[in-house]
């Protein structure tokens, strides 16, 4: 094609674009052409955020919301790497990552005057805004384990070799170490006690990376118990009648939390705040609880008794949870990862 032809095509494209944009209804011009970038986990979380936060925001402001899906480690790497020139506005991370990100100046400190700050249970916005509350409990095969187990039951000789653990590093592994340390009369600040106790569970039946595989193994009787984070697990249990989930009492379930972070100096701070308000709002938090069994952090959420029974949604329930010293845990991650590789997996 000649140069002349090319430029003619370009001109036609330009004209067409102008025609199309001119024909659009003139809603909320203020954020038109702007894009909010939100980093989160894929699957149900993305679906609910899209439906309850992104779509209403797009309708209200004329902006576009772009999701970047992946693990929280990817997002941490991205916001640290881009600290001079961030391209992500909102990042969902784990409870143990948020205080670190705030300390390193990567995210905006939660604003105590923001309405969505006040809606969240007191003392929950550590580092970023608390998005949901879930606890590490025990999924178990009802045929092998007669009643909802306590943590100590995992160490009973009849279950030797039938306990599964998640891959490490991760909240599940840190939680199990915290529990093991307490069963040994110490806490997570004594890693020798934690690893010594946890090592008694080896050889572990399997390292699970997704629910399908662990539930299949549990249904087959190859795994008796596995520490797991409530939420997805409880949702998935509806199709596995032989698997139960126990919130232990001694110590209580380990609190794990998703956090919503506003990235510091991000390109669209106003849109990010609007998104946060919708994500932390009653509608989205109710859907999180009803569909994903993620406990709401918003105290205005009212749940039906059936849903409430399965999620952590009252201050009393939160009081019973075991809280780890996450900043300490994350500072130990590197050493613990190697110890886990060697002592728990026997690599």
């Amino acid at each position: 094609m000649s140069d002349n032809g090319l430029s003619r095509v370009a001109a036609a494209c330009l004209a067409a674009t102008m025609l199309v944009t001119a024909g659009l209804p003139a809603v909320a011009q203020d954020f038109k052409g702007k894009t909010l970038v939100v980093g989160t986990w894929g699957g149900d979380i993305e679906r609910l955020l899209r439906q309850n936060a992104a779509e209403p925001l797009e309708k209200e402001t004329g902006a576009k919301v772009e999701f970047v899906l992946g693990g929280s480690g990817d997002r941490m790497a991205r916001i640290y790497a881009e600290k001079a020139n961030p391209t992500m506005d909102v990042a969902f991370v784990n409870i143990y990552e948020a205080p670190q990100a705030l300390k390193d100046g990567m995210v905006e400190a939660p604003d105590p005057n923001a309405p969505y700050f006040k809606d969240v249970w007191d003392g929950m916005n550590n580092g970023c805004y608390a998005m949901s509350l879930v606890g590490l409990g025990i999924a178990y095969n009802k045929k092998l384990v007669s009643k909802p187990p306590e943590w100590a039951d995992m160490w009973k000789p009849e279950f030797k070799g039938k306990i599964a653990l998640s891959s490490y590093p991760g909240s599940e592994g840190d939680g199990v170490l915290g529990v093991a340390a307490r069963l040994a009369g110490k806490d997570e600040h004594d890693p020798d006690a934690a690893f010594g106790k946890l090592k008694e569970l080896t050889p572990i039946a399997m390292t699970y990376t997704n629910l399908d595989e662990i539930f299949a193994m549990m249904d087959a009787g190859e795994v008796a118990m596995a520490p797991m984070i409530s939420g997805y697990v409880l949702a998935a249990l509806k199709t596995h009648p032989d698997i139960g989930f126990s919130f232990p009492k001694e110590p209580g379930p380990v609190l794990v939390r998703d956090m919503l972070c506003l990235v510091k100096n991000s390109p669209e701070p106003e849109l990010a705040k609007k998104f946060a308000a919708l994500a932390l709002g009653v509608k989205n938090q109710t859907d999180y609880a009803e569909q994903l069994y993620f406990g709401p952090t918003n105290k205005n959420v009212k749940l039906s008794p059936e849903v409430s029974a399965d999620v952590i949604d009252t201050p009393d329930e939160v009081q019973g949870l075991l809280q780890l010293d996450w900043p300490y845990v994350i500072s130990q991650r590197s050493d613990w990862t190697q110890r886990w590789n060697k002592e728990i997996l026997g690599q």
């Binding site: 990100a101 390193d104 590093p169 590197s334 990862t337 690599q347």
Partner: protein, 280 residues
């Protein structure tokens, strides 16, 4: 500057942006450390990451294990690929195109899909063990074992061996074999003394590709190893994606790159020596 060098410019420019720049960044990060109690990189350069890597026998073990997997995968791929390549070249006839296209499928489908497929084949409740169970045979543990990972690696990287071999074997003149046969050489001697020596360039090229791909592989050991088996790729991922110790992960990646670089140099020198010997 000869004008012909302009032909290289687009590729060079692309490499500079998508390979060289990140590579320099990776190399420089590997000499940094994170400040105490922070994920931010501290000022100053040091060898701390490399010292930690060398001082801990765990990483040496991981290195040796990864090397062992790479060597075994290369040998197994060669054993499987030679007959396949020979068949494609000499016997496939009109099927040749179809067979080559089938060989390419694992390459173009990425590492994840085949690995996930393998997961269902090899799982304790998967196709293989399910069939054994039905027939009353004992089950075999494949997931989370070196055997399982090696099966997955050979499956993933076999095309990298087959394609160079097909290329070389296709160029061997058929008269050479006929001449050897007419002089009374048995088939084994023809293979050993005619086909294999002449196919050496393909064998070397395929072996280098499979070795390097295995050495740096991540998805296959991660998915099929089930977290039980640490290789260079999985440890680097663990450090970068989960521990968030980016400088240390960079050092791990640098070691892998240097190892591969050394291998390339060794092969270049080795093949030059062989050629010189042949010339004499």
């Amino acid at each position: 500057m000869p004008p012909s060098i302009l032909l290289l410019l687009p590729a060079l420019a692309l490499s500079a942006v998508v390979f060289l720049a990140p590579f320099v960044w990776l190399a420089s990060t590997s000499f940094r450390t994170q400040a105490e109690g922070s994920l931010l990189l501290a000022d100053g350069l040091s060898f701390d990451n490399y010292i930690r890597l060398l001082a801990d026998p765990f990483f040496l073990e991981v290195l040796l294990r990864t090397l062992a997997y790479s060597v075994i995968t290369t040998i197994l791929s060669l054993i499987v690929a030679l007959p396949v390549a020979r068949f494609i070249v000499t016997r496939a006839g009109r099927l040749k195109g179809i067979l080559l296209a089938l060989m390419l499928v694992p390459l173009v489908s990425g590492a994840l899909l085949p690995s996930l497929g393998m997961l269902h084949l090899m799982g304790p409740l998967g196709v293989v063990n399910g069939a054994s169970r039905l027939m009353g045979l004992p089950t075999v543990k494949l997931l989370g074992t070196p055997t399982g990972i090696l099966i997955g690696l050979v499956q993933s990287f076999l095309p990298l061996m087959v394609l160079p071999l097909v290329n070389t074997l296709a160029r061997l003149p058929a008269d050479l074999e006929q001449a050897a046969a007419s002089l009374g050489a048995p088939a084994t001697a023809i293979w050993r003394r005619v086909i294999l020596p002449l196919a050496m360039p393909g064998v070397v090229a395929g072996s280098v590709l499979v070795f390097c791909a295995t050495f740096t592989s991540f998805v296959t050991p991660q998915v099929l190893g089930q977290g039980h088996i640490a290789t260079f790729g999985t440890v680097a991922y663990q450090q970068a994606g989960q521990v968030l110790d980016w400088p240390f992960a960079s050092a791990l990646a640098m070691v892998a790159l240097v190892m591969i670089g050394l291998l390339q140099v060794a092969i270049a020198i080795g093949s030059r020596l062989i050629r010189r010997q042949e010339a004499q």
